[in-house]
C-alpha cells in the first residue's frame, strides 16, 4: 500500500511540475457575452468569432511570442451579471483585457469597474452615444447610430425619393438612439415622419401597432429592431396586406432574416459595413472559415466580434509590450485597421466611424444596391 501511495503522489508532483514548466507565457483575454437568456443568439456568435480568431492567431505563433487564452463569461444580457463578471475579470491578475458585452446597457453597467482597474473594455456592438466617452478604457467598434442613420435617411429621401415614413422601434437604449437619429436626419432632408410607435422586448404580436402606423398613410416604414423581430413584423405586415418599402439599420443583416421572414422580407433595405459577398479575399477567408467551422453564415455581430480580437492583437503588437497603458494608447491610436467590417479608425472618444453600403433583399438574398 505505501508504495502505491508514494507512486501516486510522485506522479502527481512530477506531472504538476512538468505542467507548470510546459506553460509558455500567454495573454489571457476575457469575453463577456450573453450565452443564455433572451440575447443568447447574438452572444453565441461573439463566442464563435472570438474563438475562431484566437485559434487563427495562435496557429500563426500568437502575439509577441505568446499565445492567447480565452475565458468566456455569460452575462445573460443582464447589466447586473455583466458587472459581476467585470469584478471577476479585474480581480484575476492574469486577465489582460476584456471583449464585450453585447448590449449598451450591459457595457455601461460594467464600465466603472474596468475604468477603476485600468483594464481595456472593448465592445464589438455597444452603440449608445454615451458609452465610450464614459471611460478612457472603453472602446466600441460598431459605430454609433449618430453616424449610421444619416446613410439610411439619405437613402430614403434622395435615392428612394420617399416623402413620408412611419417609424417602429424596440423600446430600449439602442432602439431609442436609432429612431431618434434616423428621424432627425430624415426631417433635416425635408422628409416627414407620419407616426412613431414602439414595442417591448419579447413582444410577438405587432398587428395592433402596424394597424395604427398604417392609418398614418406613410410612403415607407422604418423599423429599428433586431433581425428576428424584423422578420415577425414583416410576416404580420404581409398578412395584413400592407405592402410598402421597408428600411432598417445594420442589425437586420443576417441570413436569419430570410430564414424567419420568408417572402415577406423581400425588397427590404438595410445598410451594412460587413457584406459576406464582398469579393475581398480577407472577407471570403473569414466567411468560408466560419461556415466550415460552425455550419452557419456569419452575421454583422459575428464579424464585429472577429474584428475585436484582431484589433486587440494588432494593438498589442504595436505596443510591443504587455503594459496595459501602452496597449490602451496603441489601441486608441488605431488607424485604418483593415477589418471585416471595413476600415477602423477610433475617434478621440474611442468610437469607430464606419463606412456603409446599402443592400436590399432580392429573392431571399442580400444584394448590393447600385
Amino acid at each position: 500500500m505505501p508504495n502505491k501511495w508514494t507512486a501516486l503522489i510522485g506522479t502527481v508532483l512530477v506531472s504538476g511540475c512538468l505542467g507548470a514548466w510546459a506553460d509558455a507565457p500567454t495573454i489571457h483575454i476575457a469575453l463577456t457575452t450573453p450565452i443564455t437568456g433572451d440575447y443568447a443568439e447574438y452572444g453565441v456568435n461573439f463566442k464563435r468569432s472570438v474563438e475562431m480568431g484566437i485559434d487563427e492567431i495562435n496557429a500563426k505563433g500568437g502575439v509577441l511570442g505568446r499565445k492567447f487564452v480565452l475565458s468566456v463569461g455569460d452575462s445573460k444580457g443582464d447589466p447586473k451579471e455583466s458587472a459581476t463578471l467585470a469584478q471577476k475579470w479585474v480581480s484575476d491578475p492574469t486577465v489582460f483585457a476584456e471583449i464585450g458585452d453585447f448590449t449598451s446597457s450591459c457595457c455601461m453597467a460594467s464600465q466603472p469597474i474596468y475604468n477603476r482597474a485600468g483594464m481595456i473594455q472593448l465592445s464589438p456592438t455597444a452603440s449608445a452615444t454615451k458609452f465610450t466617452p464614459g471611460s478612457k478604457w472603453s472602446f466600441s467598434i460598431v459605430g454609433p447610430q449618430i453616424y449610421e442613420q444619416p446613410v439610411m435617411a439619405d437613402l430614403a429621401k434622395n435615392k428612394l425619393k420617399l416623402k413620408t415614413i412611419a417609424v417602429l422601434f424596440i423600446n430600449n437604449d439602442w432602439g431609442m438612439d436609432t429612431q431618434k437619429y434616423f428621424k432627425e436626419d430624415f426631417e433635416k432632408q425635408g422628409g416627414k415622419v407620419t407616426a412613431t410607435e414602439s414595442f417591448f422586448q419579447g413582444d410577438k404580436d405587432f398587428t395592433a401597432v402596424l394597424t395604427k402606423l398604417k392609418q398614418s398613410k406613410p410612403d415607407a416604414l422604418f423599423i429599428a429592431t433586431m433581425y428576428n423581430d424584423a422578420a415577425m413584423i414583416s410576416q404580420q405586415r404581409e398578412k395584413m396586406g400592407w405592402n410598402l418599402p421597408v428600411l432598417g439599420p445594420s442589425s437586420l443583416y443576417s441570413t436569419q432574416l430570410m430564414a424567419l421572414g420568408g417572402s415577406s422580407v423581400n425588397g427590404l433595405y438595410t445598410d451594412v459595413s460587413f457584406f459576406t459577398k464582398d469579393p475581398d479575399p480577407r472577407i471570403q477567408a473569414y466567411v468560408t472559415g466560419f461556415q466550415k467551422r460552425y455550419n452557419a453564415t456569419p452575421n454583422f455581430h459575428a464579424a464585429l466580434a472577429y474584428d475585436s480580437i484582431y484589433i486587440l492583437a494588432d494593438a498589442i503588437r504595436r505596443a510591443g509590450s504587455l503594459d496595459k497603458n501602452a496597449v490602451r494608447d496603441a489601441l486608441a491610436a488605431t488607424k485604418n485597421f483593415k477589418g471585416q467590417t471595413g476600415s477602423i479608425t477610433f475617434t478621440p472618444e474611442r468610437d469607430a466611424i464606419k463606412s456603409y453600403k446599402v443592400v436590399q433583399v432580392v429573392n431571399g438574398d442580400f444584394q448590393l444596391l447600385k
Binding site: 422578420a231 415577425m232 395584413m240
Partner: protein, 288 residues
Amino acid sequence: MFLQQLINGLAQGSLFALIAISFSLVWGLLRMVNFAMGEVYMLGAYAGWLVVAHLTPNLGVALLAGFAVGWAVGWIIEKVAFKAMRGVPHIASLVCTIGFSFFLKEVATWIFGAETKAMPSYYSQTAFTIAEANVSWLQVLMVAIAVTMMVALQVLFYRTRLGLAVRAVALDYRTASLMGMKVDKVTSLAFSLSGALVGFVGVLAAVYYNAVNPGMGFVAGLKGFTAAVFGGITSIPGAILGGYLLGAIENLSVQFVSSGYRDLVSYLILIIFLLFRPNGILGKKTKL
C-alpha cells in the same frame, strides 16, 4: 378603427384565453400557481416544430406532439414540485415552479440552440375581411378551439364522474381521500391535462407567429396568468373571457393611447378592476 383593432386582438386573446384555462385548472384543484406554464408552452411549440421540420408537414400531428410533450412535462412538474412537497408550506412548491421555468428554458436553449427557428404558416389565407382587417382561417380556428376547449372542460367537470372527483379533490383533498378517492391520480391527471393544453397552444402560437424560440414562454405565461386572474381564476368561462378582454384592451390601448404605454394602460385598468372586483369577472368568492 375600433372594430379593426378589436378583431386584431381576437387571435392574441385566443392564445391568452387558452393559457388562462390551464392556470385555472391547476388553481381550481390545488389553489396553486404553476409559474412554469409559459415554458411548457414553449416546449410544446418546439415539439410541434420538430414534427413539422423533420417528420411531416401535417399540422394535426404537430398539435398532437405539442399536446403529448405538454402532458409529459406537466406530469413531471406535478410529481416534483407538488406531490413531493405536499405537507410543506405552499410557497415551496411555488418557488419550485419558478425554478422549473428557468430550468426548462435553459434546457431548451441547450438542446435547440438560442436562435429563433422558423415555423411555416398554415391556413393563413384570408377567410373574410371586416373593417379592412383580414381575418385568416387560422384566427377563426383559434377562436373555435378556445370555445371548444371551454365547452369540453365544462362538460368534463360538471357532467362526468371524473369531473366530480376532480371537484371533490379541489374542495377538500383530505376528506376526498378518506372517502376512498384516488387523490394522487386525480391531481396528476389535472396537472398533465393543463400541461397538455398549454403545450397544444404553444404549437398554435408558433404557427401563428411563424417562430419558435426558448424565450417565447415568459411573456405568454405572464399574460395568460393575468388573463386568468382578470376573468376569475376559479372559473373556466372566466378564463376565456379574461383572455379575450385582455387581448382587446391591449390592442385598443395601442390604438387610442400609445404603443409605448400599452402595458401601462392595460395593467392600470386591470389593477383598478381588481380593486372593485377582486375575484375577477366570473370568479366566485373562495375561502382559502
